[in-house]
């Protein structure tokens, strides 16, 4: 079973040289730490930056320089700053190659719910609806089950949707799964020490197992 860092590490392997990548808040943010050195990858922050750098050294925080999670960051050489309209312009125009974000639920046809629990929590969708509506390559990073032990991979989402038919891949503490165009979660890889049966038990939506499922290498 993977911890959060493990999920981030596994997702980092999906990143290719030359990619522009948007990382959501939470586990996706951690992915930045595992991009292989020497690989040319530019991180987009939807508040208006291409070229997110590491956190600043203590005492060097700049209140004018934050990421979309409102954390103080630094800016790498070769960065560009732009306004919010251009930021989402480039997202809508599919210039960002990969989007990694969290979710509360994903359905077997790729719908995602991530922004609202009716009567309990309404923080807002932020940029997530724009990202999932336009991005062609979306990976969801999340826990396989929620705190109540219920599967977050469902036949249909029960929470208000963020977007439809958009999630391509899911990485959880148990597995890597692909959302099939015809519907269903195809099991691609098992986390170290996790059995297919455990994954089946934690997946409420249709799980497609085609052959021997390899353990992931991270």
């Amino acid at each position: 079973m993977l911890d959060k860092e493990g999920i981030a590490k596994r997702i980092a392997k999906e990143i290719k040289d030359g990619y522009y990548v948007n990382l959501g808040i939470g586990i996706p943010t951690l992915v930045a730490n595992y991009i292989p050195k020497g690989m040319d990858v530019v991180l987009q922050s939807e508040n208006g930056l291409l070229g997110i750098g590491p956190f600043p050294f203590e005492g060097e925080e700049d209140p004018d320089t934050i990421n979309a999670g409102k954390q103080t960051i630094t800016i790498l050489p070769g960065s560009a700053i732009f306004d919010s309209a251009m930021s989402f312009g480039m997202i809508r125009a599919k210039k960002v190659n990969l989007t990694i974000l969290g979710a509360m639920e994903v359905s077997e046809n790729g719908d995602i719910a991530s922004w609202k629990i009716p009567g309990k929590m309404v923080k807002g969708m932020g940029g997530a609806m724009d990202l999932v509506a336009s991005a062609e390559n979306i990976i969801v990073a999340m826990q396989h089950v929620n705190k109540a032990g219920e599967s977050k991979l469902l036949p249909e989402c029960t929470l208000p949707l963020t977007g439809i038919n958009c999630v391509k891949k899911i990485v959880t503490e148990l597995a890597v799964l692909q959302v099939l165009p015809e519907g269903g979660f195809k099991l691609l890889e098992r986390a170290p020490g996790v059995s297919v049966e455990e994954i089946e038990a934690a997946t409420a939506g249709k799980l497609v197992i085609e052959s021997d499922v390899p353990e992931m290498a991270i």
Binding site: G48, E60, K70, I81, S84, G89, G124, M125, M129, I164
Partner: protein, 234 residues
């Protein structure tokens, strides 16, 4: 151009109860804190505020919420404010949640004289309810309307007496698109310089969009999430 005013109080003097305001900033970054303080002092009420976030409990638009000056918020993300959540759940505050890119683009539409724009954000979700959907090249888009704001209030790093603005780092965010979109646009700046001191190639918001400008003093520029790393041993 007689755009320079002496203070935030003068800049907001004619903002009236019931008006619609756009307020720049992303979280607390690039927030027009001096104008917000002036609005709090003025006590103007029943405002509709278009702003990506609603501040925190004791800073930014949070200060206006605390005083019940806001009737309606139009935002994309409001998850950092307990008083906000209380007013929302109790029904005291009306909230329209808008995808962040849609929010930015509806501002830009106003500034560019486009009455409506198309975006796929929100298709298949409750954001799409009641809105016109159009299919272009096999993909569905929502038609979203340009905002109509009485005032846009923005914060820039530097401005000149002609109203030209330059932003610094990610404090740019929504400020340029809102600056374009107000019927009246107020800019507060950290440095106010004479016309000619800003390179025309470096201007982010041309002065034609800015009606009033003033230099704010002693910016607090509060940090919402201070994240740092330790210095490596050298």
């Amino acid at each position: 151009m007689l755009k320079v005013v002496s203070s935030a109080d003068e800049a907001v003097h004619d903002i009236q109860d019931g008006m619609t305001l756009m307020l720049g900033g992303f979280g607390l970054c690039g927030l027009p804190e001096k104008c917000i303080a002036a609005l709090v002092k003025k006590g103007v009420k029943n405002l509709t505020c278009i702003s990506n976030n609603a501040g925190v409990d004791d800073f930014g638009i949070g200060l206006m919420l605390k005083q019940r000056q806001v009737k309606k918020m139009i935002s994309s993300y409001v998850g950092e404010n307990a008083e906000f959540e209380r007013q929302l759940l109790s029904g005291e505050l009306e909230v329209e949640l808008v995808p962040q890119g849609t929010l930015a683009t509806r501002c830009m539409a106003a500034g560019y004289g486009m009455p409506a724009v198309f975006t796929p954000a929100g298709i298949g979700t409750e954001v799409a309810v009641g809105k016109e959907i159009r299919n272009f090249n096999g993909k569905d888009y929502l038609m979203e309307m340009a905002f109509d704001a009485d005032f846009a209030i923005v914060k820039a790093w530097k401005g000149d007496t002609m109203g030209n603005l330059v932003y610094r780092s990610t404090a740019r965010n929504f400020n340029p698109v809102m600056a374009m979109a107000g019927k009246v646009t107020i800019a507060e700046v950290e440095e106010l310089v004479e016309a000619g001191e800003i390179d025309p190639d470096h201007v982010h918001t041309p002065g034609i969009y800015v009606h009033r400008i003033f230099k704010g003093e002693n910016y607090e520029k509060r940090i919402e999430q201070r994240t740092v790393r330790k210095k490596d041993n050298a």
